[in-house]
């Protein structure tokens, strides 16, 4: 359309139902056509990095929970790995196995929220609630082991806060069996729904080279069709022992790298996580989970950058130690923070409604963006 209308600025957020938190998007629109998107952050800034400098190494762990509060175990995991690398300690086998299982459970839980809220943004509220029902299942399992539902403080430097609950293995297996038909149902209800496909396919196409240049990671990058997963490409913990696939966007319903691909990668990733859990759950060796926890954490001088594959992408901890009990500098390379930067690039030339779909498919957590 070439009818010239006035450009107007639409402030989406900080109070808006579907900006996934207190994000403010400044949309410059012409009619319904988006010309420019400027995200404004910082409404949830809680000074994590400043706080961390005043904490001892082990006291930082509860703070990392609050970054990506939908995948708190991943945050603990990354931080613990980084400090362990600084300290140069090895953790027992049992700890590694439990960490991996927990992280994969958490990945499923986090993807459930991501998929559900992506659907809810587009208007399908029912799948959202079904997915939350399934997420409760996971949260119950984790709660039984570590006592909290969201902010676990579970993975400690050199170990775990608790050993797994006696029922853990049985319940996790039950969950795996329960969850597989749910994915099929979700596919039928939402993924292959014509309206949903119309809303997401060919929308917000992110080419591979742009994605890499913008530093996108996780499902956002894999949706563009590149097989890059830190669990395979830069293996940490014991991920190299498991056999799993890296799902990528194939452009089944439209162009490679569109919203539907990003969405679908998450669903397929949940299946792969189930596969990892099934491989790991029977092989947990016996042992003590707290034996390797150092009494006093005082790493030598040095810097470390450790990254793991969090549900939202590459979560990196850059830690500088000056040889004291407090970290000198902790910088979090938050996947949502980096992925959100792509938004401005993706939304150009789409409609206001597409901005919501694209934002939902990028899947940000404001706790992590603002830190």
């Amino acid at each position: 359309m070439t009818i010239k209308t006035e450009q107007m600025v639409l402030n989406m957020g900080p109070q808006h139902p579907s900006t996934h938190g207190v994000l403010r998007l400044e949309l410059e629109i012409e009619g319904e056509l988006v010309k420019k998107v400027t995200p404004h952050l910082g409404y949830l800034h809680r000074c994590f990095e400043k706080h961390a400098e005043a904490m001892q190494y082990n006291q930082v762990v509860p703070y990392t929970d609050r970054l990506d509060y939908l995948a708190a175990i991943g945050n603990n995991f990354g931080y613990a790995l980084a400090v362990e690398k600084l300290l140069g300690i090895e953790v027992p086998e049992r700890v590694e196995y439990i960490r991996v299982i927990m992280a994969e459970l958490q990945r499923i839980a986090s993807h459930l929220v991501a998929i559900g809220s992506n659907g809810a943004d587009i208007g399908a509220l029912t799948p959202f609630l079904y997915l939350f029902r399934d997420r409760e299942y996971i949260l119950n399992i984790i709660e039984e082991t570590c006592g909290a539902r969201m902010l676990y403080n579970y993975i400690w430097i050199g170990g775990l806060s608790h050993d797994i609950h006696p029922d853990f293995i049985r319940k996790t297996k039950e969950f795996c069996n329960y969850f597989k038909p749910t994915i099929v149902e979700l596919d039928n209800l939402l993924s292959y729904n014509k309206i949903f496909i119309e809303r997401t396919a060919n929308i917000g196409v992110l080419p591979v080279d742009t994605a890499i240049n913008f530093g996108a990671s996780g499902p956002t990058l894999r949706g563009s069709g590149i097989k890059f997963d830190l669990r395979k490409d830069d293996p940490y913990s014991i991920y190299d022992r498991f056999n799993f696939e890296i799902p990528t966007g194939k452009g089944l319903m439209g162009t490679i790298g569109d919203c539907w691909d990003r969405y679908y990668v998450r669903i397929r990733e949940m299946e792969q996580s189930l596969k990892i859990i099934e491989q790991a759950i029977d092989n947990i060796p016996n042992g003590d989970v707290q034996s390797a926890i150092p009494k006093r954490i005082k790493p030598p001088k040095g810097t470390v950058y450790k990254r793991i594959e969090n549900p939202r992408g590459e979560l990196g901890y850059f830690i500088i130690s000056d040889g004291t009990v407090n970290p000198f500098r902790v910088k979090v390379r938050a996947p949502s923070f980096v992925n959100l930067e792509v938004l401005g690039e993706l939304c150009k030339g789409y409609l206001v409604a597409d901005v919501i779909a694209i934002l939902g498919s990028i899947d940000i957590v404001l706790g992590e963006v603002d830190r």
Binding site: I3, E6, M8
Partner: protein
């Protein structure tokens, strides 16, 4: 004073008062929405004149079509983010005088002419009669109007879409 009379005066007042607002208010949006009331009042008058089909066509075409078109026109050609849309007026006084004279002349013609003012018996089923007439006596005009509407549709779309070079 029968119900018929009451309804007539009601609709007449609605029509004239809102038409007055249409031409006098400075706010374009107000006149747009007053126009809605005017059309509605005119539709009421049609009903009183026994033209129920026409009244509904009036509502459908004017309220549902033309008015929305005009409102869209207003919104597309003004700064839509202001609540007040002001519009200027020109030569108010000469216009008022001229229109006053015209109005006087019209009224005198209307009132003093000896019209044949016996109500005729219109058919109760106006829809049926109009339909019959349209497809018998007026069939050429009917078809031509259909063509005209098609031409207008295409023409309006092409005019509005013309790119500014």
């Amino acid at each position: 004073m029968t119900l018929y009379d009451i309804l007539f005066y009601l609709f007449a007042v609605i029509t004239i008062a809102s038409a007055f607002v249409v031409v006098t208010t400075k706010n374009v949006i107000y006149s747009g929405f007053s126009l809605l009331l005017t059309f509605f009042g005119v539709a009421g008058i049609y009903v009183l004149l026994g033209a129920d089909f026409l009244a509904i066509v009036q509502i459908m075409v004017y309220v549902g079509g033309i008015l929305i078109l005009i409102l869209f026109g207003v919104m597309l050609t003004n700064k839509i983010t202001d609540v007040d849309i002001r519009t200027g007026t020109i030569h108010l006084l000469p216009a008022a005088v001229g229109v006053g004279i015209l109005f006087g002349a019209l009224i005198s013609v209307m009132v003093w002419t000896d019209w044949k003012s016996e109500p005729v018996e219109l058919p109760v089923t106006t829809t049926y009669t109009i339909g019959r007439e349209l497809l018998t006596n007026y069939v050429l005009i009917f078809v031509l109007l259909g063509l005209l509407l098609l031409v207008v549709l295409i023409g309006a779309a092409s005019i509005a879409r013309r790119d500014k070079e």
